[in-house]
């Protein structure tokens, strides 16, 4: 048995957090905004196929930043959890809280027991029947969860981003306004204008049928951003 030097737990956690935070800081950010008809998720993402934002269930969406392979893993696990729940109980029994708790447990478990922590941050959003019913859960690499209202920024420069959003956000924005708010905040942080074709955006729109998730396509985004 090899000799293991004593490392105090505070140090261990600090090292791991630092490692995870560095990894996350390398990637681009994701913004979520509560608008009049639901929730908007927007990210700068040059790839058209490797999504940062996806559908989990009827009213629930997922967004991840950091290492793609790791949050993709978590995304699939979330879809599986939601579909199994909805199949064995009922469709309305699947909630963002359940999914967020599962992510928190999984990430906490990875953070404390695995060789390296996951370099990811995750957002789980659920659109309610009224704006007051919207839910946004922000889950960090160590499994800590926060319940957010109005807007969330996560990723490398999330604090700066959140600052810009705080200045201009107000309740009841239209879809166009909220897209422009999010894009402007991203451009300010990136210090150059963000092209519409490098944006990935999706909404949970409460006016839709059973499945509320919808991606905004490039033409639609370009039209909104240029207007």
């Amino acid at each position: 048995m090899s000799f293991q030097p004593y490392v105090p737990p505070e140090q261990l956690i600090k090292d791991r957090s630092e490692y995870a935070r560095k990894g996350i800081a390398k990637g681009r950010s994701v913004v979520a905004v509560d608008y009049a008809d639901g929730l908007l998720f927007l990210a700068e993402n040059p790839s058209a196929t490797l999504h940062k934002i996806s559908e989990i269930y009827d009213k629930i969406a997922f967004a991840g930043v950091g290492r793609y392979s790791e949050f993709e893993d978590l995304r699939i696990a979330g879809v599986r959890l939601a579909d199994l729940r909805g199949y064995s109980y009922g469709r309305e029994d699947v909630t963002a809280k359940t999914v967020a708790n599962a992510y928190a447990q999984a990430l906490n478990n990875i953070f404390t027991t695995q060789m390296k922590p996951y370099e990811v941050e995750i957002l789980v959003g659920q659109v309610g029947d009224s704006p007051a019913g919207n839910e946004l859960f922000h889950i960090l690499y160590d499994g800590s969860v926060t319940d957010e209202k109005g807007y969330v920024a996560m990723g490398g420069r999330s604090e700066e981003l959140a600052g810009h959003l705080r200045d201009d956000y107000k309740e009841g924005l239209s879809l166009e306004e909220s897209v422009r708010l999010a894009t402007t905040a991203l451009s300010k942080v990136e210090e150059n204008s963000v092209e519409a074709e490098n944006l990935e955006a999706a909404v949970l729109d409460r006016s839709r049928g059973r499945r509320k998730f919808r991606r905004l396509n490039d033409q639609e985004l370009a039209r909104i951003v240029q207007a």
Binding site: T49, H51, S54, E55, I56, D73, I76, A77, G78, V79, R80, L81, D83, L84, G86, Y87, S88, N101, A102, Y103, A104, Q105, A106, N108, N109, I110, T113, Q114, Y118
Partner: protein, 295 residues
């Protein structure tokens, strides 16, 4: 390894990137619904012929110029009694395909639910829809898994139709109890009244049917089947019960409203009523009085 599975259903990681919901369900529950592996001998009761459970009866599908029309009557029978007069047998499978099922109603609805979840699950995990061919094969595998139950009398016979975006045409598949999957070029019917429904469809089918003509042919075929087969329910205007009809086109799966089905039915009945009846001839198509009790 106490891996990153905490908080998630157990097979989440060992399954890797497998996008199948049915496989996930099988891996996570010892005996999942819809994939029952009944033992034909031993403790399981062997049904002599048909079990006393509800059976859905006649469903049909007919291709037309812009897609496929699917229809089903509303009756379920349990032995010699009517179990249900308003059962639904035609379901959207996803945005661009639909499935209609005849046979043991409990098994059938469970298979449909599993199939719907399977398609949506694949779409979410892969970020892309299955091809129509892929969907049809997946359904075949589910029917094959039901084969032990079919041997005990719980037969499930689906029809599957969808709009194939890659070929830009409507396509229609029928199945047998062993999971055999056969593509039909024009129309098909399944269930107890299928023979009679097919006879009507054969007379009415043309390659260039429009949507309304296809709906009319479907309603007429179901009506004819209901006149010949006790297990097939006809329209009951007095209680507002009409066959379920759905059109599958490039716009997706559209349910045809009852008023349109009613109009088609009334046109058919009006036509047969006006035609002079041959003395002493067949009365196969009597005008119904609206309530079966009076007829």
């Amino acid at each position: 390894m106490t891996g990153p599975t905490a908080g998630f259903p157990d097979p989440a990681y060992p399954l890797g990137a497998n996008p199948s919901f049915a496989d996930l369900l099988r891996a996570s529950t010892p005996e999942p619904a819809g994939t029952v592996t009944g033992s034909p001998s031993g403790t399981a009761p062997a049904f002599a012929g048909r079990a006393e459970v509800p059976y859905g009866t006649t469903v049909l599908a007919i291709k037309f110029a812009a897609g496929v029309v699917m229809a089903g009557d509303r009756r379920a029978v349990e032995g010699f009694s009517i179990a249900d007069e308003r059962i639904e047998k035609v379901f959207p499978a996803d945005a661009s395909s639909a499935v209609a099922i005849a046979g043991a109603a409990g098994q059938a609805t469970e298979i449909v639910r599993l199939f719907q979840t399977e398609l949506e699950h694949y779409e979410k995990v892969e970020g892309d829809r299955l091809s129509l061919e892929g969907k049809a094969n997946r359904l075949a595998q589910m029917i094959r898994q039901n084969f032990p139950m079919a041997l005990q009398g719980l037969v499930v016979l689906p029809l599957f139709a969808g709009f194939d975006e890659r070929r830009s045409e409507g396509r229609l598949f029928r199945y047998d109890v062993t999971g055999g999957r056969w593509e039909e070029a024009d129309f098909h019917a399944a269930g107890s009244g299928a023979t009679h429904a097919r006879a009507t469809l054969k007379k009415r089918w043309r390659a260039d049917l429009d949507r309304d003509a296809a709906i009319r042919a479907a309603v007429e075929a179901l009506y004819d089947a209901s006149q010949e087969d006790v297990a097939t329910g006809g329209p009951i205007p007095l209680r507002g019960i009409y066959p379920t009809v759905k059109a599958i086109t490039t716009e997706g799966v559209t349910p045809i409203p009852d008023e349109d089905v009613k109009a088609a039915f009334e046109a058919i009945v009006g036509e047969t009523h006006e035609a002079p009846r041959r003395p002493g001839g067949s009365q196969a198509r009597e005008k119904p009085s609206g309530n079966e009790d009076e007829s």
